[in-house]
């Protein structure tokens, strides 16, 4: 069981996440963050890494939460599991959320558990009506237990499963609408899947309604040559590539500034490298904000 936070002054009250770049928090960077208190707008964690009773992980996360807004990005609720939701796990995330008051909780349009077996990967869903009904029920259950709505992220995938009755974009948008959830739009994932399956990334992104997008993710991926052509592997192990920056820019121009996370999970680099990626993201966001402001002023003046 989780204990109450030691510093009850930390009544965070859902400190909102600004529509700027945030960074995925890695224990390897705790030292840098405490030493330099870098200018980062917000951090995101995987709640699965903080479900222990006590110890250093809570100690350090509490200190970070004292200075920065926080978001929970779950990798383990397995929203698409045909064997249903692991309610115990969702309750643990709820307790953790009560302790740290994240501004958002999200998970993926995928599954990772078959009954008692956890596969620890984000596996693709077939985009069928059967899967849609099941996922809607699962998302409802999760949101009921958590007592709040979640954001659902589009996955990167290597299978384009046959028998689909709608495409991924429709599936995601309809699922969010039906569940009262929002969308976590991972621009890198759209690009990776589009390249792997021959979809059009621009078309996918343009069909996501702006009002549903609460957060955006950016990451690097690797390209592996195979005898069947290139495959893009979403390893979160490098800088955001130029094609993804360009799609991000288009997306920001269309939907406006959003909280945007830089993810880097394999071969985690020095903290400065992540800060630089966040700065680039903020430059794109600021350009869009300036445009929006100027447009707004222009409209005001012309009235």
């Amino acid at each position: 069981m989780l204990t109450k936070p030691t510093n009850l002054s930390a009544d965070y009250g859902h400190t909102p996440i600004p529509a700027r770049a945030g960074i995925g928090l890695k224990p390897a960077h705790f030292g840098d963050i405490f030493e330099n208190t870098p200018e980062v707008d917000w951090f995101e964690i995987h709640p699965e890494n903080y479900l222990m009773s006590g110890g250093p992980m809570h100690h350090y996360l509490g200190r970070i939460r004292d200075s920065y807004p926080l978001s929970f990005h779950s990798i383990g609720m397995s929203l698409g599991s045909v064997s249903g939701i692991d309610e115990d796990h969702v309750r643990k995330i709820k307790h953790l959320a009560e302790r740290y008051q994240p501004a958002m909780i999200s998970d993926h349009l995928s599954w990772s558990r078959w009954h008692q077996t956890v596969l620890n990967d984000l596996l693709p869903m077939p985009y069928t009506y059967e899967a849609f009904t099941l996922m809607s029920d699962n998302v409802d259950k999760v949101q009921t237990i958590l007592g709040r709505s979640i954001a659902i992220e589009n996955p990167s995938s290597y299978f384009d499963l046959a028998g689909a009755e709608m495409d991924e974009c429709d599936f995601l948008v309809q699922l969010a609408r039906r569940s009262g959830a929002s969308i976590l739009l991972d621009v890198n994932n759209v690009y990776v899947s589009a390249c792997n399956h021959g979809w059009c990334a621009e078309n996918y992104l343009s069909r996501i309604p702006a009002e549903l997008v609460k957060e955006v993710h950016l990451a690097g991926h690797k390209v592996e040559p195979t005898e069947f052509g290139e495959v893009r592997i979403d390893d979160h192990g490098s800088q955001v590539c130029s094609a993804v920056w360009s799609l991000f820019e288009q997306t920001m121009q269309r939907i406006g500034p959003r909280p945007t996370l830089i993810e880097w999970d394999t071969d985690v680099p020095a903290f400065d490298v992540l800060l630089k990626q966040a700065r680039i993201a903020n430059q794109y966001i600021e350009t869009v904000s300036d445009h929006a402001r100027r447009r707004h002023i222009h409209i005001e003046v012309s009235k």
């Binding site: 204990t3 030691t6 699965e48 890494n49 479900l51 222990m52 009773s53 006590g54 110890g55 250093p56 992980m57 809570h58 100690h59 990798i75 383990g76 609720m77 397995s78 599991s81 045909v82 064997s83 692991d86 796990h89 643990k92 599954w111 990772s112 558990r113 078959w114 008692q116 077996t117 956890v118 596969l119 620890n120 990967d121 596996l123 077939p126 069928t128 059967e130 899967a131 099941l134 290597y158 299978f159 384009d160 499963l161 046959a162 028998g163 399956h197 195979t226 005898e227 069947f228 495959v231 592997i233």
Partner: protein, 272 residues
């Protein structure tokens, strides 16, 4: 294809070791458009990415949990061992913090690990470190707090250990093996000379700490941990080891100085 069928079969495909079995199961997996009814190399290759993701992510979690075991057997052997373990005992919880609890027993049974008889105990030590590192937080009992007790009542105290603190005995000098391998250059440990170890594993200042106790101190702490009072525990330590009466004070100061106790209870009276 029904969702149930798809998820059941993909789960099996991700964890199965044998390629012939893969082919046998592949015909139930939905083919991407444009491929024939038989498992195509293209689909197998994409499936390989998922198989690799599952094994890689779980093996990395195991490597983080058991770094000294990995160092002792080498990367190649460790990852082969981890792969066998993952396929036989995949995790049941999405949080991997405590994945690998049965790995020490798995090593003890594994035919290729028999040449390193101390390996299961080293794995247990690493597992206990992980457990104690993430155990609940508790205050640390200080000698100042103890000094508030009337000396005549001291013997009637029972002391509680930090949550997750463990006492562990091994026939091997595993603390030396563990410590030497934490450093970059391991010295040779002569297993014919180095003796068995009685260890205390607990968290101190946010770090897992391993203390090798002399036998009398181990005995005393084990009794205290069983819930016996100080005088009762001391009696049992004296019955086993040759200890002068006046050694109790020094032993208590030593144990309390380790910051391993979280509080005390006076028999019949609650205290802390």
């Amino acid at each position: 294809m029904k969702l149930n069928h798809y998820q059941q079969n993909l789960s099996a495909l991700l964890l199965v070791a044998e390629i012939p079995e893969l082919h046998k199961l592949m015909d139930v997996l939905v083919m991407p458009p444009g491929t024939s009814a038989n498992p195509s190399e293209h689909t197998l290759q994409r499936l390989g990415i998922y198989r690799n993701n599952v094994l890689y992510s779980l093996s990395q979690a195991m490597a983080a949990q058991f770094p000294i075991v990995k160092k002792l057997v080498g990367d190649n052997f460790f990852f082969a061992l981890a792969r066998d373990y993952i396929r036989e005992q995949p995790p049941h919880e999405p949080s991997l913090t405590f994945y690998g609890d049965t790995f020490p027993a798995f090593i003890a049974e594994h035919e290729h690990c028999q040449v390193l008889p101390y390996l299961p105990d080293v794995a247990t030590l690493e597992w206990q470190c992980q457990k104690t590192l993430h155990a609940a937080d508790a205050p640390v009992l200080t000698t100042e707090q103890l000094s508030t007790i009337d000396p005549s009542q001291l013997g009637e105290l029972t002391l509680s250990l930090q949550p997750g603190a463990t006492l562990m005995c091994s026939d091997w000098p595993i603390d030396r093996i563990w410590r030497e391998n934490l450093g970059e250059e391991a010295n040779t440990i002569d297993l014919n000379v180095e003796k068995n170890a009685g260890l205390l594993i607990y968290r101190r200042q946010w770090q897992a700490t391993v203390v090798c106790l002399i036998p009398s101190a181990y005995c005393m702490l084990a009794r205290l941990n069983d819930g016996h009072s100080i005088s009762k525990s001391w009696e049992q330590a004296q019955a086993t080891y040759t200890l002068a009466d006046d050694e109790l004070g020094a032993l208590l100061v030593y144990l309390v100085g380790l910051d391993v106790f979280s509080g005390f209870t006076l028999t019949n009276t609650e205290g802390n």
